[in-house]
């Protein structure tokens, strides 16, 4: 923790803290049940396009080392 400044700095600091807490206290809050549902919906909507969930076919895998080709 920082050491407390003396004199009028103390009041300025306390006033800033009150102002900050007023901002944080004033927001509208959504129910956790709704927030959870939205997060779950987002994941399920995007799941089929998530390569790390669905797997990547070898031919489409940019990181997989390709075996060298031989011309017969």
């Amino acid at each position: 923790m920082s050491s407390k400044p003396h004199g009028s700095n103390n009041i300025a600091h306390a006033r800033r803290m009150v102002q900050q807490l007023r901002i944080e206290a004033s927001i509208e809050r959504t129910k956790v049940s709704k927030a959870s549902a939205d997060l779950m919906n987002y994941c399920s909507e995007h799941a089929r396009n998530d390569p790390l969930l669905m797997g990547i076919p070898a031919s489409d895998n940019p990181f997989k080392d390709k075996k060298p080709c031989t011309i017969l």
Binding site: R29, V32, H46, F63
Partner: protein, 342 residues
Amino acid sequence: MASEKAEIDALKKECDGLRTQIEAARKAVNDGSMTGASGGVASVGRVQLKLRKTLKGHLAKIYAMHWATDSKQMVSASQDGKLLVWDTHTGNKLVAVPLKSAWVMSVAFAPSGNLVASGGLDNICTVYNIKAASPKTLRELDAHTGYLSCCRFLSDSEILTASGDTTCCLWDLETGKQKVVFTNHIGDCMSLALSPDMNTFISGACDSLAKLWDVRDGTCKQTFSGHTSDINAIAFFHSGNAIITGSDDCACKMYDLRSDQEVINYQDTSLNAGVTSLALSSSGRLIFAGYDDFNCHIWDSLKGEKVGVLSGHDNRVSCTGVPEDGLGVCTGSWDSFLKLWN
């Protein structure tokens, strides 16, 4: 003096009242847990990713990496005093940027791919043009009074930095000057992440708090508590409505921005190592978290369960990143190697 004391006492009382009010408001919307809600969601099963490439080239600990928006190039930073830009599809090194100061802690790729930035114990964020014939220093952003822990470009003309001096800062790259300074943390800022719509960003700090900021007006809009040690890593969930944090207290947490509170804790009694870095898969369902135990553990973000592990590094995993196309995960380590998995 007595009137001063009286005013301070009144202000302190108002602070306490506001804190109680915030806690009560959070409790009032806490009508169920995320793990309870996700009980009906299908399990992802065991996630087994294969090591596809090991990128060798750095000669010392890697501290940071960042994907380019093309999902192909990637930049890494090592305390060997170099930034390396890689083509991750071929494994080739494209550009090497020698650093004035070897004590680098962060690196970033601009969305355009034209610029990279880095900084560390020199307290400076240096921006380089890597499209020039040889890498050219574009700007040295020098105003922080503590180490540079993280930097992220908004565009080729603006960059956000987080510093050990407890502040974050938005810089104008055309003038090299600070546009906005974000002050409210009481500990070193360790990490930052920009929201998908770029109007807000989040920071994690050694005061164990995560904060949400308005990029333009500098105000701290929300503060998230719960961790019991330094927050080293932070990321936005892709919808923009939740954030994930990783901490030295060995846990990761998800906080929902609209409920203004923690909704899941990702912790395992067998995991006694601090979290250094984290990244999400493209749907947000998987969290890749790098730990001091040399591994990157994979979490199911909705159910809060460990579903896999990326093992292979011989030292701490210091950085983790998933490219925009979601086709893989990159881990960087103090063992000097980067590994690509999918």
